[in-house]
C-alpha cells in the first residue's frame, strides 16, 4: 500500500485529496517514511523538512474539512533543488561557499507559486555545486545517486530532484536548466522534465549560473503531471528581468488530442554524425518515432547547425556569465569550491569581451535559423544524451560522457524542450528523447509527449529500491 501511495501520480494524488479520499498528512508521512528508509542510499535530499511538511499537510487537511477553495496541488508534497530560495532556510547551492549563509528572507517566485497552489514543501534536494560542478565527492554533502542503480550518475545538475521523483520520494520537484540540467536527470532517471521557453517561468530567488541561459522547470513521473505543474509555475514576473509577459494557456488542455495529422521533425545528425550515440539510445529514439507514426503523425528528417556550433556558443556564454557571478569568491575562497567546479568554471576568467559578444551574435543567428527550420512543423524529436547514465565515480568516464548530449541548443535558442523516457538499456538504465517545440508552444510538446507515453509503459516501471 505504501509503495502504491509513493508512486501515485501527482494528478491522481491531487484528485484523491480533493475528493477527501486521501489524507495529506497520511500521504506526506508515507513519503517521509520512504525517504527515511531509502534516501541513505541515494542522498537525493540535502534537507528534509519533516516537521514543517507535516504541519503544512495538517493545515491542508483542515482547509478541506472547512470546505475552503483548494489549489490544484492542494496537499501534495514537492521538492526544491537547493538553489531555490525558501524563506527561513539557507540556500546552499550544495557548496561550502554558501554553507554558512543566513536564512533567506523571502521565497523564490516558484516556491510561492507552488505553495499558493497548495503544495507541501518536503525538502531541499541535492544539486551539482552551483548547478555546474559535479558529480563531486569533495563537497559538504555527497552527490545524489541514481535510483535505478546507485553506482550510476543520476544526471545533473538537478540530481537530487531527478532521483527523488524517480524513487517515489515526491511526485514533483523543481529543477533548473542552463545546459540541460532538468532534462539530463530526467533522462538518466526515467522521468519527465520540461525546460519551458526562456521567460516562461520566473527565475527570481534562484541562484544564477548564467543569466541568459538559466531556466527553471518541473520534474515529474508523467507528462500530465508535468503539464499540471507548469500550469502552476508559468506566468509573468515583473521582478525577473527575463520574464515574458505572454499569455499562459492551460497546458493540460491538449493532452488527449493525439498526434494524428501532426508534422514532426527529427534531427538525426546530432546523434549519428555530429556525435555517435550508443546503439540502444539511438534505437530507442527510432522506435519512438514509429510509435508516433503509428498514431498518425508524419515524421520528416530535418537538419540544423552542427551540435559543435551550438556547444561552442553555449560554453562561451555560460562560462563568461558564470565567471562574472563567481569572480569574487574564486579570488578570495577558491579552496571552498570542488575540483570539478573549478575545472569547469575557471576558463570563464580567460574569455574576452569580444568572445562573449561574438557568441551572442552567433546565438542570434542560431536562434533565427532554428526557428526558421521548424516553422512548418508541430514539434521536433531529438536525442537527449548519447549514452545512458554512467558510473558515478569514474572520473575518466565522466570527462568523456558528460559533454555527449544534445540539450544545449535549446538553452541557446530558448525553445521549450521536454525529456521523457523511451525505454531501458540492457543494464536496466533509462533511455530518453527530447521533444522540442516552437517558442511558447509547450502545450503542443505535452500533446505529443502524452500521445507517446499513452502508447508505452516506460513511465510505469519502478526502480528496484
Amino acid at each position: 500500500m505504501s509503495e502504491e501511495l509513493a508512486f501515485l501520480s501527482l494528478t491522481e494524488a491531487a484528485a484523491r485529496i480533493r475528493a477527501g479520499e486521501l489524507s495529506p498528512v497520511a500521504y506526506t508521512q508515507t513519503l517521509l517514511d520512504r525517504i527515511t528508509a531509502h534516501d541513505g542510499q541515494l542522498d537525493s535530499f540535502l534537507r528534509v523538512l519533516a516537521d514543517t511538511a507535516l504541519a503544512e499537510a495538517a493545515a491542508a487537511e483542515q482547509k478541506i474539512a472547512a470546505g475552503e477553495k483548494l489549489g490544484p496541488l492542494h496537499g501534495v508534497p514537492f521538492g526544491l533543488k537547493d538553489i531555490v530560495d525558501v524563506a527561513g532556510l539557507p540556500t546552499t547551492a550544495h557548496s561550502q561557499i554558501l554553507a554558512q549563509e543566513p536564512p533567506k528572507v523571502a521565497d523564490a517566485a516558484v516556491t510561492t507559486r507552488l505553495r499558493d497552489a497548495g503544495g507541501v514543501l518536503l525538502g531541499k534536494t541535492a544539486t551539482h555545486e552551483f548547478a555546474i560542478g559535479g558529480p563531486s565527492f569533495d563537497l559538504p554533502w555527497p552527490p545524489a545517486r541514481n535510483p535505478w542503480n546507485r553506482d550510476r550518475y543520476p544526471g545533473g545538475s538537478s540530481s537530487g530532484s531527478g532521483a527523488a521523483v524517480a524513487a517515489g520520494f515526491v511526485p514533483m520537484a523543481i529543477g533548473t536548466d542552463t545546459g540541460g540540467s532538468v532534462r539530463n536527470p530526467a533522462s538518466c532517471c526515467g522521468i519527465v522534465g520540461m525546460k519551458a521557453t526562456y521567460g516562461r517561468v520566473s527565475r527570481r530567488g534562484v541562484a544564477p549560473l548564467s543569466y541568459s541561459l538559466d531556466h527553471v522547470g518541473p520534474m515529474t513521473r508523467t507528462v500530465a503531471d508535468n503539464a499540471l505543474m507548469l500550469n502552476v509555475l508559468a506566468g509573468y514576473d515583473p521582478e525577473d528581468p527575463g520574464s515574458a509577459d505572454v499569455d499562459v494557456p492551460d497546458f493540460t488542455a491538449q493532452l488527449d488530442t493525439g498526434v494524428a495529422g501532426l508534422r514532426l521533425g527529427v534531427i538525426r545528425h546530432f546523434h549519428n554524425r555530429d556525435m555517435i550515440a550508443d546503439g540502444e539510445m539511438a534505437a530507442a529514439l527510432e522506435s519512438a518515432l514509429v510509435v508516433l507514426e503509428d498514431q498518425g503523425a508524419e515524421v520528416v528528417e530535418i537538419e540544423t547547425e552542427p551540435l559543435a556550433t551550438y556547444h561552442a556558443c553555449n560554453r562561451v556564454i555560460l562560462l563568461s556569465e558564470a565567471y562574472s557571478i563567481h569572480r569574487r569568491w574564486l579570488a578570495e575562497r577558491p579552496e571552498d569550491y570542488s575540483a570539478s567546479f573549478l575545472e569547469r568554471v575557471l576558463p570563464g576568467a580567460f574569455l574576452t569581451g569580444n568572445d562573449y559578444v561574438d557568441s551572442l551574435r552567433l546565438r542570434r543567428k542560431l536562434t533565427a535559423g532554428f526557428n526558421q527550420t521548424i516553422k512548418d512543423l508541430d514539434g521536433v524529436i531529438v536525442i537527449s544524451a548519447m549514452d545512458a547514465a554512467f558510473v558515478i565515480d569514474d572520473s575518466d568516464e565522466i570527462a568523456k560522457k558528460y559533454p555527449r548530449q544534445a540539450r544545449i541548443p535549446f538553452n541557446l535558442t530558448g525553445n521549450p524542450a521536454l525529456a521523457l523516457p523511451t525505454g531501458f538499456d540492457d543494464d536496466g538504465m533509462p533511455l530518453a528523447m527530447q521533444i522540442v517545440g516552437k517558442q511558447f508552444d509547450e502545450a503542443m510538446i505535452y500533446r505529443i509527449a502524452a500521445a507517446y507515453e499513452g502508447a508505452t509503459n516506460w513511465h510505469q516501471r519502478r526502480p528496484p529500491l
Partner: protein
C-alpha cells in the same frame, strides 16, 4: 593564442586569481588553454549588421 608561463601568471594575478595560481598553477594553465580553444571553436561573423541577442529580453529569441 599561446601565452608563456610568466605572462599567464601576470594575467591570472591581474584577475585576482593569486590563490589558485599559487596552489594549482596547472589549473590556471588548463583553464587558459581551454578558454582559448573554446573561443577558437566559435563561429564568428564578419558582417557588422549581425547584432548580438539581448540578454534580458525574453521575447528576443522569438
Amino acid at each position: 593564442m599561446s601565452m608563456n608561463d610568466k605572462a599567464l601568471a601576470q594575467l591570472a594575478t591581474s584577475l585576482g586569481l593569486e590563490k589558485i595560481l599559487a596552489a594549482q598553477p596547472e589549473l590556471i594553465r588548463n583553464a587558459y588553454d581551454n578558454a582559448r580553444a573554446m573561443a577558437g571553436r566559435l563561429e564568428r561573423s564578419d558582417d557588422i549588421a549581425d547584432e548580438p541577442s539581448h540578454v534580458f529580453r525574453a521575447d528576443n529569441n522569438v
